[in-house]
Amino acid sequence: MNTPATASADPIAEAIAEQRERRGPLLPLLHAVQARCGHISDEAVARIADALNLSRADVHGVVSFYDHFRRAPGGRHRLGLCRAEACQAVGSHALEAEARRQLGVDFGGTTADGAFTLQGLYCLGNCAAGPSVLIDEELYGRVDGVRLAELLAEWRGRK
């Protein structure tokens, strides 16, 4: 979901047209823009503000409030690692260290090959089978360092 879903000529206009008539359109619109463009650029902020009759500061304020939205491009895949208590109880600290080592980046960072952006998440609802990892929209449970290496190899090969 981090790579552009459609190769539209003007994905921002398309997202605006699709979402602007909803009641309370800003969050659905931000989701739609990020799904198409991978991030929410300065241009997108300005055009969304214009379309919804908001200031750019208003839109930026909302974007920056929510961890899921990003203002700059990330890697091809978003690798979310659960850092909450239930996963900590079964070894997520060790998995965090493994993730940093295998990816060569810290949380918030994007790997040198552009494949992954590492993100800390707080609960994936898989608390009876942690540690849990979410890659784009695929959930994985009972992940250890070996399993993580397998997953990274598999996902590096995907588009």
Binding site: L26, D67, A89, N126, A128, G130, L134
Partner: protein
């Protein structure tokens, strides 16, 4: 066994499609079973049902043999050679064979009211849901005046299952009593507490029951529009809900005419964006309106001025999904489960360092020890239980000495803990409890919406104090300062995030004094 399948008959094979099952490889198992059956000339229908709640047995596979569902689990694709050699599709004997799920003690001892239908069928099979009696609650509600629906919910004793435990009927009555041009039903599906997954499992396993509950709420208070606010971390639940909403509307569960009546109601799905605070109802409403999710002052209550300033019912997924059974079977039926002021059942979620984790729906009153030892089988690591966090990141850690506490609102309040959304996270004796205290405050600092100072600044300062304590650089005086800061946050914060983040911290300082003493400078 009553003999092999008649040649040419289609065998139904259930492979759980719940996110937790998929996370453990259920998709590969389903594909491999289909491929092997095809290669062997056996006709099978693979049904991706929800989870029966036994995460420790996922991926769970059930084979329908002579009208009975024979379960095997946990099944990985590596087990399939052996399973097919043992005639899996005819219910053959194998080390992984469990028999009928309903006969397994872990399942049989539960009292499933809210989760009665969850995980039985394909969650988007509307006909199967109707055949199982899914419509009964809405049908009953359509026979009653609005006030009588609210009265039934009040009489049932149902309290908000999201954590606040506010009487649901009283909230609905307030909304019903408002004169307004429009009213709303908002389903809080922002299940952010670590250790909780009952909302997710219900949405993925029985979404029509949730939609029925929202529809009944709409009939009860005179609302015509509902919103489900779902967290973005649940992509699989999103896909199921999207399908369920389309189907339910097309089949007339809601829409212009609810089940052909003169009432209208509709539901729209909205996604969160990774902010824990949106589980707090007023910040959720801000988020739905397209704003930064900063909490609102109360009063006015959302029941009086909620979404877009209109009277709004905000209820958790489990609360709303429990309403249909109350209408269908009567308030007294539901109220007769439970103890004291904790009526009905609670879907508990057994998580963390536990051998047999999953969803246990029981009447209130089960003890923590029964849950962890009888159901859970103790820790996954095999080491002693050191602590149990109940009710999410804002809930207290209870000690091994407190395990005989019954799981009721009152009993947990009596030991300074809370039930919250029913998440139970087990930690063994290798856990550094002071690090857990530090995490609690770091989490609060990370998730604070920033509106009030005690939460915004207090959590940051408390996290700093705890970092010093963890590093062995604190004195008793600093621990006293931390206690004082906890007081300030509890009494001065605007909402439960800053107001409750001190609970886990304080429970560790008081419940694990040796851990503190060992670290003092």
């Amino acid at each position: 066994m009553a003999g092999a399948q008649v040649s040419g008959a289609v065998t139904r094979v259930y492979v759980s499609g719940d996110a937790a099952a998929r996370a453990l490889g259920a998709d590969a198992v389903a594909r491999a079973i289909a491929a092997r059956a095809a290669a062997g000339g056996r006709a099978v229908t693979i049904v991706r049902n929800g989870s029966r709640g036994m995460v420790w047995l996922e991926p769970l596979v059930e084979i329908e043999v002579a009208g009975e569902r024979i379960a095997y689990g946990p099944v990985t694709h590596k087990d399939l050679d052996g399973l097919f050699a043992a005639r899996l599709l005819d219910g053959g004997a194998h080390a992984l064979k469990l028999g009928r799920v309903e006969t397994l003690p872990w399942f049989a001892r539960q009292e499933r009211l809210t989760f009665a239908q969850a995980g039985l069928a394909d969650p988007l099979d509307y006909d199967a849901w109707c055949a199982a009696g899914g419509l009964a609650g809405v049908e009953r509600a359509l026979e009653l005046p609005a006030a009588a629906i609210v009265q039934a919910v009040s009489d049932s004793g149902l309290r908000g299952r999201g954590g606040a435990a506010f009487p649901t009927g009283r909230k609905w009555k307030t909304v019903l009593d408002q004169e307004a041009p429009e009213k709303f039903i908002v389903c809080n599906a922002d299940e952010g507490d670590s250790g909780t997954f009952s909302d997710r499992m219900l949405m993925e396993g029985d979404p029509f029951t949730l939609l029925a509950g929202m529809t009944i709420a709409g009939l009860a208070v005179g609302a015509t529009q509902g919103y489900i606010y779902l967290r973005v971390e649940y992509p699989h639940a999103r896909r199921v809900l999207e399908g369920a909403i389309l189907t339910a509307r097309a089949r007339g569960l809601f829409g212009d005419r609810v089940l052909g009546s003169g009432h209208s109601f509709d539901v729209e799905l909205r996604l969160g964006a990774g902010a824990y605070i949106c589980g707090e109802e007023t910040s959720l409403l801000e988020s739905l309106e397209g704003k930064r999710a900063e909490i609102r002052f109360r009063p006015p209550l959302p029941a009086i001025k909620g979404l877009w300033g209109r009277p709004t019912v905000v209820n958790n997924v489990i609360t709303l999904a429990t309403v249909p059974v109350i209408l269908a079977r009567g308030a007294a039926y539901y109220r007769d489960f439970g103890a004291g002021d904790s009526r009905g059942t609670l879907p508990l979620q057994l998580a963390g360092n536990i051998r047999r984790g999953g969803l246990v729906e029981k009447a209130f009153g089960l003890s923590l020890r029964e849950l962890i030892e009888d159901y859970g089988g103790g820790t996954l690591s095999g080491r002693p239980v050191q602590a149990v966090q109940i009710g999410g990141p804002l809930g207290a850690y209870v000690t091994a000495a407190q395990l005989d506490t019954p799981l009721t609102y009152e009993a947990l309040a009596g030991i300074g803990a809370m039930l919250g959304h029913g998440g139970v996270v087990v930690f063994d004796d290798q856990t550094d409890m002071l690090e857990m205290a530090r995490f609690a405050m770091e989490f609060c600092a990370h998730e604070s919406c920033g509106k009030c100072t005690p939460c915004r600044i207090g959590s940051t300062r408390a996290a700093e104090l705890l970092a010093r304590l963890c590093a062995g650089r604190s004195t008793r005086a600093e621990v006293a300062l931390l206690e004082e800061l906890c007081d300030t946050m509890i009494s001065g914060s605007l909402c439960g995030l800053g107001g409750m983040a001190p609970f886990p911290v304080r429970s560790i300082l008081r419940g694990f004094p040796d851990a503190v003493a060992r670290r003092l400078a």
